[in-house]
Subunit: 140 residues, 2 copies
DNA sequence: TATTGTTATACTCTATAACTATA
DNA sequence: TATAGTTATAGAGTATAACAATA
């Protein structure tokens, strides 16, 4: 077993690599959606609305506070991309993409698909290994 | 070769894992330094000042705008953790940790060292593999 | 003319707390 | 009493633009 200092240095190095890789992934996302003029958080939300979803569920999915969803929904609605539709439980509002919303969502997906993603640099088995290691890292 | 849609779905999944792993690493950093009461950006800057460094170089190292460094330096100076010392080129100011700054910096390093880092969950060969894959991902 | 650092300002993303209306 | 959503506000982290001093 290597000495503690060496282990820690290696951990810190890997952490730094993870942060860098994550930032690169985020930049790639931002670059892909930039041509459409929809801000990043709105794009993230719209992409999740392939099917109508309660605001609470969207907050859980995006891992943000529900109060934040109100603002996102307001902006998406102002752009005509979604509507709030009442749910069965009358406290609940479902966010549903409009026709325009579905169209833009499809364009965003296509742009994300077209962009050559950095992970494509790895071979298929390497990608599988990377995914497995990251999942072990995040487990529990 | 798998069809494009499958490849893209896998890429997006790996990107999400990278972002999650990065956020976990950042949380770990924040938790380690929290007991010392020094805000995250100030801690990050102080940790880089083992040796005196020009403000421009620090901006490059932290990958932020130089104007932002002015604010960080002001706050670190107000806390008595660094001083600005003139450089050879008289436009340049070097940021140098004070005795207190070095002491706190050592404490921060020790706290980061003591914390069990998430990457410790992986075996040594797994860590090596992960690091290598991330480096390939980030290479040019 | 190009570079270092500074100032004032403004932006993005997000949380907290207190509230309303249902359940 | 607990939950869904809203409102107003505030915070962290960081950039932009215009500037002074120096090279």
């Amino acid at each position: 077993m290597p000495d503690p200092e060496t282990r820690i240095a290696e951990s810190r190095r890997i952490s730094r690599l993870l942060v860098l890789a994550s930032e690169r992934a985020k930049s790639g996302f931002a670059a892909s959606i930039a041509p459409f003029g929809l801000p990043i958080p709105l794009s993230r939300a719209l992409l999740m609305l392939g099917e109508p979803m309660s605001m609470r569920d969207l907050a859980d999915l995006m891992v943000v506070d529900p109060s934040y969803i109100t603002g996102l929904a307001d902006q998406l609605e102002a752009r005509g991309l979604i509507t709030r539709v009442p749910g069965a439980d009358r406290r609940v509002k479902l966010l549903a993409a409009t026709d325009d919303g579905h169209t833009l969502r499809a364009s965003l997906l296509a742009a994300l698909t077209e962009r050559e993603m950095p992970v494509e640099r790895l071979t298929a088995p390497e990608r599988a290994t990377l995914a497995a290691l990251l999942e072990r890292l995040l487990a529990e």
